[in-house]
Symmetry: C2
Subunit: 222 residues, 2 copies
DNA sequence: GAGCAATGTAGACAGCGTCAAGTTAGCTTG
DNA sequence: CAAGCTAACTTGACGCTGTCTACATTGCTC
């Protein structure tokens, strides 16, 4: 029947690559459409049926690619972590860690904070899922999501440890605790902004810098 | 007047006081049952129908006391703020601390943080509604909820200002920014704990103390 | 006692997640 | 090349949801 033969590049004859063929690339399109819907109308407004309609398939077609609505959301979150990775990695761009050159000063911390908040606010549809209670409280995380999430946490801790190491005077703070508290601050600020409790988005920069000041000072405790 | 003086405190001839009589005290019972249901089964599991069933009325009876599900949740959140008030008020319980002395030291900050986190974790069903995106993002807050919420924010800022004033060396930090950042930290930690992202609840005390250390140090910046 | 407003009920509707059963289409294998 | 297998997709149905409408009850006020 429907020979909507625009047929993307067919010949997806690859190996691990498991694309659907009927629709073309349904799984990918579902993930993108889901993110778009959440962004535009909020997470609560996302329904499997609307989603299916949006990409032009029947209500239950998505269930051949995701066992659950939950599983779909997990996959969206995973995509989010993939985009997030660059933010928390110690040296996001420029190839190497450059062992000796990497001096961390307050400016570097400021930059990091701004990038974190910027990601959270501008990718709220992902951030909500990645670090929101909806998925985590359910205890039904996809194995692959858990994997990528824990990897992110670990990278963050490494990042913080890097701060301490590259500070001239060795810090006395427990790195794990310091990482937890700083992350709490960043996460809390992100949540308050995303959730619309902090409305004055013009103050974001000032708040970020105040946080940087606090982080930096704490880092230098002897 | 009504001689069914058993309960009810009768004489509800006043104006603002609108108790139901048919059921007895439906509004109150709905609020309590809602909090209980959310606590036991999660916010997502709360439905108006289950709620009505739980208190023994028909599905639509609650709509005579709350225009919406949203309005009911707002009312629950309001109750939460009422319980919360004691936590952030500068002088929670009179007498304990010297009256006008009121010197704020690191121990006081530690205590405050612990109380905040303790409230959030042990009253998650309220905390979620009070500071969660579900209500705030909707832009449909009850007027009375807005009122009590903003009052709480204001009290928090006052509290922080008090910290600064009672520190021996006057702090150089902008009180508003400092309040925003410290609240971000507390809120972030609460969220991470409530949402099950920080699982090790044994570490709460250590994290709280690390935060206190950081707040305290920042307070003393000259 | 009459009337009225507050409070309760039952019925109905559209929308939700998702299970079960049927249909289509591309790949594999004889 | 035909047969068959299976992944991808569709339609139908069920029980749940929030909430609108219309109706019944109740107790207070005149």
């Amino acid at each position: 029947m429907s020979n909507s033969d625009i047929e993307n590049s067919g010949s997806s004859h690859g190996l691990g690559d498991h694309k659907p063929y009927h629709h073309g690339d349904l799984r990918r399109q579902l993930l993108d459409a889901a993110a778009k819907l959440i962004r535009e109308e909020g997470e609560a407004a996302l329904s499997m049926r609307k989603l299916a309609l949006a990409v032009g398939v029947s209500r239950t077609a998505p269930y051949h690619h995701f066992s659950d609505k939950q599983a779909l959301l997990c996959a969206v979150a995973e995509e989010g972590f993939r985009r997030f990775r660059g933010i928390v990695s110690v040296r996001p761009e420029s190839g190497e860690i450059g062992d000796q050159a990497a001096v961390v000063d307050e400016a570097a911390i400021r930059l990091f904070i701004r990038r974190y908040i910027d990601f959270a606010v501008n990718n709220a549809e992902y951030y909500d899922l990645m670090f929101g209670g909806h998925l985590w409280k359910s205890q039904q995380l996809t194995a692959s999501l858990k994997e990528v999430a824990y990897a992110s946490f670990k990278v963050y801790i490494e990042h913080i440890r890097h701060w301490q190491k590259s500070t001239l005077l060795e810090s006395a703070v427990d790195p794990l605790r310091y990482a937890q508290v700083t992350w709490s601050t960043l996460h809390g600020m992100s949540r308050l902004l995303i959730d619309g409790i902090y409305l004055d988005s013009a103050a974001v920069a000032a708040m970020s810098d105040t946080a940087a000041d606090m982080f930096w000072r704490q880092l230098q405790s002897t």
